[in-house]
Symmetry: none
Subunit: 410 residues, 2 copies
Amino acid sequence: MKALEVNMDREQIYSSLAQKNDRRIVLLVMDGVGGIPNKEGKTALEAAHTHNLDLLAQRSSCGLTVPVLPGITPGSGPAHFSLFGYDPIKYNVGRGILEALGLDVSVGPQDMTARGNFCSLQGDVVTDRRAGRISTETNGQLISLLKEKIREIDGVGVELTSGKEHRFVLKLTHPKLSDRLGDADPQVEGEKVRYAEPLEQDEHTLFTARIVKSFMERVREVLKDSHPANGVLLRGFTLPPRIPSMADLFQLRPAAIANYPMYRGLAKLVGMTVLPTGPEVEDEMATLRREWDRYDYFFIHVKKTDSYGEDGNFENKKSVIEKVDCLIPEILSLKPDVFAITGDHSTPCRMKGHSWHPNPFLLFSPYVFAGACQRFTERECAKGILGIFPSVDILPFLMANALKLKKYGA
Amino acid sequence: MKALEVNMDREQIYSSLAQKNDRRIVLLVMDGVGGIPNKEGKTALEAAHTHNLDLLAQRSSCGLTVPVLPGITPGSGPAHFSLFGYDPIKYNVGRGILEALGLDVSVGPQDMTARGNFCSLQGDVVTDRRAGRISTETNGQLISLLKEKIREIDGVGVELTSGKEHRFVLKLTHPKLSDRLGDADPQVEGEKVRYAEPLEQDEHTLFTARIVKSFMERVREVLKDSHPANGVLLRGFTLPPRIPSMADLFQLRPAAIANYPMYRGLAKLVGMTVLPTGPEVEDEMATLRREWDRYDYFFIHVKKTDSYGEDGNFENKKSVIEKVDCLIPEILSLKPDVFAITGDHSTPCRMKGHSWHPNPFLLFSPYVFAGACQRFTERECAKGILGIFPSVDILPFLMANALKLKKYGA
């Protein structure tokens, strides 16, 4: 007799059971769609007229999904990793890389990114960490100038991308970079300039720290006559984490249809093909129709439910939901084998930000239990047969309903 | 590219997100409040008239909580650790310490406690492990005598506390004690006296075993003419576990209002300030009012729902519930930002003891979904939007609703 070896984690188990077939999965994510009741006692989903979503909910298995852990309000990064079937604790991607993705900077395995600020210096002292919040236009001009003057440092590629106001992203490219660096930012004004402190003493870290220091000095040289922005601060140095692709893990051919850079970037990190599309949800639908035959998993991202939630604009959030509702028949007409709709996290208008509340979830396939829920709302989905479950379980449910998971054990 | 480091457990994640603010949380625990239907088909909660609890349930997010694991009937220790946000498997406090807490013995980091029995000896043989269940009064007299004669042994402080009948608690105090000792109890009558066997061979364990043996010999000397109690047995040697405080873990200023020693002790173990209070729930309310401005988390414990459950006294359990119901408006008048009510475990009258049944749970805050439940009962809470969840998630929910948890990831 031998001892049992129990050393597979959940990711390995799902991966070992994944199998290819031609069935198509559509995951429609309405970012931040969930909310809490407004003064009239209704959420945006409850107030919206959603004939198609409601009909579909009546024919689906429904539930509520928890993005990370109970009570935890997630950022977009962990919330989407969870939706894609990746443990959001295990794959917690750093701030620098998310900032880069948000500015549509492509990030490969040899790219180290950091968040940058333009700042004001007097001698060696940081007098304003945001250089008086210079305009986005000025930022663009400074970045153009720097790009022209600093293309590489000792063989390390340097790429700069403008953000809003005083913000930018730095990307360094070289096979021997390390991100074990402290922030090159004194954090408080009136303190001296700080360079990135190496947190390890290995060759790569010392090399990277030296490059970062050279970069900051070159910037000061180029901007020596610039005012008020004559220096930079750098925070959150991040190399891309080693993430297995959805193709490798789940045997899928996944495609992303998203019109905001952050979500295209997140999809790319897990190896999805990111399809070109336009700014409106109708453009996303056109992309879906066009590419329908070429993939077996489509992630469709709708941003504006979240944006209006963040603005506290209940009426507009409701309108976006109604707009998405009108597109449901079109998605159904493509006859997806599995069609799921949910949010990545909730964004209640009353809170003007992300929240911890679970997301309504709907799963439509030939293998569901209909009839428990009348509408696609938080409170109706709470009555659903799927109950409350972690978002990271969504992918296994999609795979199961597409018959893409083999039997476990004999 | 770098490998991801995955070394945060759930406690560390919540801890890393905890932030202070002035919002106040009240957790009202009705010990053992949940039950199962009696012959008329009603639980004590269902049979009770609970106007205020029911109104509150209608305005709250409700659910059912599982103290430890499905099907597991917990003792008070693990059930409360779970309520306080501590994994009850990770922090399983030993029996000796719980016995000590139950007798209001204060336990610090250098204190080792054990449960004691007076027993009857003939020569070296244990003839009655409970010394004929001597009266609590006789016990008190013997303990007084022993306290007078044995104050310390080789620099180790000795403290004895009477329990009921033949039971007492021994506390040894010294910086170099070890609790890696077997029970000093042969378990069966007719066997020879057994001393505490060292389970390790290190200096501290051998030292402690020697002290315990000396103690037992000294007792026999003092009680040599006593009858029937002329010896002692000792079980469950326990040093206090190293438990991070709620202040450290969750950035809370927590206070406990409890009138039974066991619960005051449990609260103290997690670093709560234990407030002086009186024997009745009305006294507890007065304490809450008096201390309202000084803490941001209040644990209020009501014991008698459990006591009457243990007695199988359905009518009295119902009455206690109705008494607590009358106090709800007073708690609400203090305007807690978050107010939750639940039990630590169920104590069905028909079972006259703890059970594994999940506890009704109610959470009232500005961020809830009202309307799913009509009453604060087991069956109505089962319809709640929170579903069935582990009790250890209660604290994160309370923190989230008090806006005391930062966003996770960007």
